[in-house]
Each structure stands twice: as C-alpha cells, then as structure tokens.
C-alpha cells in the first residue's frame, strides 16, 4: 500500500528476483547422503522457528501485540502462527502489560503449568519493572515472581520492538543446550523463585 510514510523518504526498491530467505544450516560435517551436526542445533533450529506463544495480555501492550499479530507487522512470519491460550501447550509466555499484586499469583500459576522447555518474555515497561506505576498495588516487574528471558522496553513498545524481542528469544532458543533444564544452575534459578 503506497502512501507517504514520513520516515521512509527514500525507500530502497525491494529486490525480489531470486531473493528467497533461507534458514541457515547449522555447522556440521556433510558427506554423501548424510549430514552430521550436533543434536542441540537441529533441535534448536526446529524449536525456534515454531514457537507457540501464550499471550498473557493485560493492558495497553496487549493492544500493541494485537497490532503485531495483525497483517501489518505479522508475528506469524517468525513461526508463531498458532497462539495458544492454555499454558499446557505453549512454549513462550509473553507477559504484556502491567501485573498487579492481585495478578501475581495467577501469573505464577500459569508459569508453573507450562511444560519445560519454556521461555518468558516481558513485554513493556510495566512487565519489566513496574513501568510508570510505582504504587502499592503494582508488582514492580514480573521477575519478582518468575524468571524472565527477554525484556522488551517501551511504553508500549512498537511492534518492531516486540518482533525484535521475539527474535532474541529465537536466538536463545536456537542456542540452548539440550541439558540446560536439568542443570544445577537452572535448578538453582528456579529454587530462588520458590519453584521446585
């Protein structure tokens, strides 16, 4: 849709001839009819391009998420086609919006119901640190109750910022060690939150 976009005064003409975006193969050893690489890179590649997010949208950031999901910014390009609203089936908990102290236990319960491996993305200033609401009723950051992997600042963050956060989650997912969830380091992390 061509319209005078303010920032894009000299747009680069898109080059679509023979321009297909391919996923990079992981490093490995290839030979006649076989390709050997590490299990974690293959599993990571598969997981990161098919994350199933759980949008935990509470307030204004939720509306920006709706804009991200819509066709203009399109989260589905990154593999997050299927949004689930049940934690049992989702990999990525996207917490978007202010979490009040009344909501904290519910957020923790949703996190506990997710199966490993699970990632958490705090979208917006309120989820990262309480935002502009330094009050008696707002939880000052969801990392008071659950461990967070990626923080996306903004009030609300632009859809491009949410997509950037999602790409960083994909980086984390793609490079994760297979045994990380059983490691002592991770277990200590969960212990510090009171999660067994």
């Amino acid at each position: 849709m061509s319209r005078p976009v303010r920032f894009n005064i000299n747009p680069i003409k898109a080059d679509i001839k023979d321009n297909i975006s391919l996923a990079d193969t992981p490093e490995g050893y290839t030979g006649q009819g076989f390709f050997a690489t590490s299990m974690s890179s293959v599993v990571g590649l598969a997981r990161k391009n098919s994350l199933w997010p759980l949008p935990f949208a509470t307030s204004c950031c939720g509306i920006e998420f709706m804009a991200t999901m819509a066709s203009h910014y399109d989260l589905a390009r990154f593999g997050a086609e299927r949004l689930g609203f049940t934690p049992r089936q989702c990999d990525l908990l996207m917490v978007m919006g202010t979490i009040a102290k009344k909501m904290g236990p519910i957020l923790k319960q949703v996190y506990l119901q997710m199966a490993e491996p699970r990632w958490v993305m705090a979208v917006g200033a309120c989820a990262s640190s309480g935002g502009i609401f330094d009050t008696y009723s707002v939880l000052q950051g969801i990392d008071q109750v659950i461990p967070v992997d990626v923080y996306v600042p903004g009030c609300p963050p632009r859809p491009e910022a949410i997509l950037d956060g999602f790409i960083r989650i994909q980086d984390l997912v793609g490079q994760e060690e297979l045994r990380r969830r059983n490691s002592d380091q991770y277990k200590n992390l969960l212990q510090s939150y009171g999660i067994q």
């Binding site: 000052q140 008071q144 984390l172 060690e177």
Partner: protein
Amino acid sequence: MALTNETIKERLITKFGDQLSRFEEPYGLLTFEAPRDLNLKVMQFLFDDEVLRFQFLTDLTAVHYPNLPGRELAVVYHLHNLVDNIRLRFKVFTAIAEPDIFTATQLYSSANWMERETFDFFGVNFVGHPNLKRILNVDEMEYFPMRKEFPLEDQTRIDKDDAMFGRGGTIAASRDYGEAVPDQGAPVGQAAPLNAPKPAQ
C-alpha cells in the same frame, strides 16, 4: 420554563429547610451539603419529585480531609437530570471515627460497585450494602490506601535505590549482586546474566 439552579435550590430548601447548607455553584454546577443521615432522603426526593427528576447517578466518590476534625470523610454524589439536562453535586461529611453512610443501592444499582470502590479506598462503611468488600485492591489489604496518611509507593520494596530518591538508604546496600556464573543457555558473546533477585515478600 427551563429548570435552573435557583429552582432546584428553592425546592430543596422548601422540602428540607436549613438542614442543607453551603449552597454554591463552582463552575456552574450547583453544589450543596447535606447531613449524613439525610443522604438517602435527599436522593429519593430528587428522584421522585416531578419537577426535579434527578434519576441518573453519574458518580459517587469520597474525599479525605484530614484537616477538618469531625468531618474528615466527604462522600460526594453527582446526579444528572437527563430530561432537562442539569447536573448537581451534593456532599455528606462524616467523621473518620464513625464512617457510616446509608447505601444508595436500593435507589441506584450503579451505586453498588461505586460504594465498594469508596469503601476500598477510604473505609467508608455503607450501611445496608449487599456485598461490601474490597473490589480493586487485594482482599487481604488491611488499610485504606487513598487516605492521605498512606504513601503511594510499595513500602516492602528492597530493590529500589532509596538513596537516589531521597528516602535514606545507601546505594551499595540495596542490591546483592553475588557471583555471576555464565549460564549455558546464554548465547556466546553476551554478558552473563546476574543471579535472580530475591523474590518480593
């Protein structure tokens, strides 16, 4: 003849005499004060009277005046006459030691939650309310946060730099950084994450 503030004032004084006081019109809105036992009678009169017809409760809230002993809590009602398009405001004052006000839920169903909110924030006890419990804050909260003596911020925070905000404390003592151990999950080349902060009480 259009309904004017003077007409409303006359009819109210005719009915209630000098029990109503402090008639004034800040920014054009007729405002008066009623004794707290008469709040329902005043609202019922305003509802039923065929000239006045104030049958829409726009807003119900309270204000805390710690400097007026004996009259600390003011419950403010905003009423609206939709047919003649006139608004009015009246207040009832009560002491903070006995914050009992008759409920308006029999007359206006919208008062139900508005009174719960006022109770939640100020501790005004609405006598006769069907379900007077906290609505916006957590049920276990023990104080009434909108009263002037209570602070805005959460007092149990430990991770905020009080020294930088002028609230005492020292900058170094407010965080415990601990040993930073690289997590195998972190991508190579990025800074190692810090240990998880202590969960809030």
